[in-house]
């Protein structure tokens, strides 16, 4: 099994409490299925929207990132899969895709030493 990171970007929150709850239930169901099939190495963490950007040699610190909501990473998960194709296939069940979000699937680099 190989490791992958799912980065979740964008995705609109539900416009009503009922929609938010349904979205929540979909996430729970999705993670449950992934976990039952042994694909979850670490469920991961949510990330706050606001942070700091530290830049260059001068180490200037600015507020940010002020990316548009659709580009902002909202959290990550560590996934176990056979290969990149399988990992991408697994990401298709992510509920964020139903609300205009994205999942970025990145293999964790493997060191063969």
């Amino acid at each position: 099994m190989n490791e992958f990171v799912f980065l979740y970007r964008g995705g609109q929150a539900g416009r009503s409490p009922e929609q938010a709850q349904q979205m929540m239930q979909k996430w729970m169901a999705w993670f449950k299925e992934l976990a039952e099939n042994g694909h979850v190495k670490d469920r991961g963490q949510p990330l706050e929207r606001a942070g700091k950007l530290v830049n260059g040699k001068r180490k200037t610190v600015t507020d940010g990132p002020f990316a548009e909501a659709k580009d902002l990473v909202g959290g990550y998960t560590l996934i176990l899969a056979k290969d990149l194709d399988e990992a991408a296939e697994l990401s298709k069940g992510c509920p964020i895709l139903e609300v205009d979000g994205q999942v970025e699937v990145r293999p964790v680099m493997k060191l063969n030493m």
Binding site: R15, P17, E18, A20, M24, M28, Q45, P46, G75
Partner: protein, 415 residues
């Protein structure tokens, strides 16, 4: 940890009610924003860490912390609830005050206070119902529009206007004064009654939506019963009528969501637990001198629910109850139902005569079940051609696919 059904929706109502009391009713929109943020946060965090042990408490605490931020940030720019102004101004008292206002004792009556505030005489009845659904039951504009089979634009306009009226009232309704409470209570009962009826008789084609509206009305009525001033015989009667009718709901709409005629309902599908609770409530309503239309409607529902078969129904009792209802709250719809009961007892011809005698039947003619009732009675009298015409008229007025298929079915029976 699984989320209980409609948890977010119900918590939304509780949180808005509490936040509005602290922020002041003029800051209703701000309270709604804070609730929206609490849900966003819950979604972001719970996705990864799982649903907490006590999701309601988690949401309330998140709303409280956010409220503290807002109060600190905006206390120079805004005024909040007038009775809390002084405590919220100083950093020394701010946090303890907010803590106390979010305590179990303080938030206990917030939803009820909001319910009474929504039933302001400055709002029309349908506006009150929409506002209760929106604020206390957490329905979005789209969800209300689909439940009422109205356009998004029309519902949005109604909600916006009603919120403006509510936000413009100087303060929330004070539910501690017995006299004011008693004066506003009938309007609150009426709104809950209309909410229930929207589910029971309403136009939404979706069974789930209608059941939900009925359940919301029952939940809020139970809330009213938990308050000493709210637990009057008439509130018990209202609760009884909702339980006794809800007991019949599974049989009224069959599994595919089709309407079933009273005579064809499978009575084994009646919800016995609801029926028993309804009867218990009806017994509790029978104290004091007051006989309200809710008492009479609950009694009618009980006679229907308790009959083993349609032909066992005590029609004489139902007719006399409709006579009482006509005396208390005359309306063409009540008269129509009375005529149908008379037909059951004295034959279709008598029923037709009674329908013809109904005063101001203008409004009734727009109601599909008026024509359907005429159709049924004509079938009973053997006039299939007339019956068919009535069902065709009903079909023209059908409000959803469910009613349409019901009337089409009846038309094909007229051969």
């Amino acid at each position: 940890m699984e989320l209980s059904e409609h948890l977010f929706r119900h918590e939304a109502g509780r949180m808005v009610a509490t936040l509005t009391r602290i922020f002041g009713v003029h800051n209703l929109a701000l309270a709604e924003d804070v609730v929206q943020e609490a849900f966003c946060r819950a979604l972001e965090v719970w996705k990864f860490r799982g649903v907490p042990e006590n999701p309601s408490a988690w949401l309330m605490t998140t709303a409280k912390n956010r409220a503290l931020d807002v109060l600190r940030r905006e206390r120079t720019a805004r005024t909040f609830a007038p009775e809390l102004t002084r405590q919220l101004e100083s950093e020394w008292t701010l946090a303890p005050t907010v803590e106390e206002e979010f305590g179990a004792a303080a938030i206990k009556d917030d939803a009820l206070r909001m319910m009474f505030s929504c039933c302001s005489p400055r709002l029309a009845e349908d506006a009150q119902v929409a506002l209760i659904l929106h604020i206390l039951c957490g329905f979005s504009v789209d969800e209300i529009a689909s439940a009422f089979v109205a356009s998004h634009a029309a519902v949005e306009k109604r909600i916006m206007r009603s919120k403006k009226v509510l936000a413009g009232s100087r303060k929330l309704f004070d539910i501690s004064g017995a006299e004011d409470f008693a004066r506003r209570l009938p309007a609150v009962q009426r709104a809950l009654y209309l909410l229930f009826n929207e589910g029971y008789h309403g136009a939404s084609p979706e069974k789930a939506v209608r059941v939900e509206l009925c359940q919301e009305a029952m939940r809020l009525t139970s809330m009213l019963l938990k308050n000493a001033l709210g637990a009057t015989p008439s509130t018990y009667a209202l609760a009884a009528l909702t339980f006794l009718n809800a007991a019949r709901l599974p049989a009224r709409l069959d599994t595919s969501g089709h309407l079933t005629a009273l005579a064809d309902q499978d009575r084994s599908q009646f919800d016995q637990a609801l029926a028993e609770e309804g009867l218990r409530l009806l017994e509790r309503s029978a104290t004091g001198p007051e006989l309200t239309d809710y008492h009479v409607e609950a009694a009618i529902a009980w006679v229907h629910t308790s009959a083993q078969r349609t032909e066992d129904t005590d029609w004489a009792m139902i007719i006399s109850l409709y006579d009482k209802l006509m005396a208390l709250r005359p309306s063409p719809i009540v008269a129509l139902n009375r005529a149908i009961a008379i037909a059951q007892r004295e034959g279709p011809q008598r029923g037709l005569e009674e329908i013809q005698a109904i005063q101001d039947s203008e409004r009734l003619r727009k109601y599909p079940f008026y024509h359907a009732a005429l159709g049924e009675l004509e079938i009973g009298s053997g006039h299939l051609e007339d019956a068919r015409e009535h069902f065709v008229a009903a079909l023209r007025l059908a409000r959803n696919p469910m009613e349409r298929s019901f009337f089409e079915h009846r038309i094909s029976a007229c051969k």
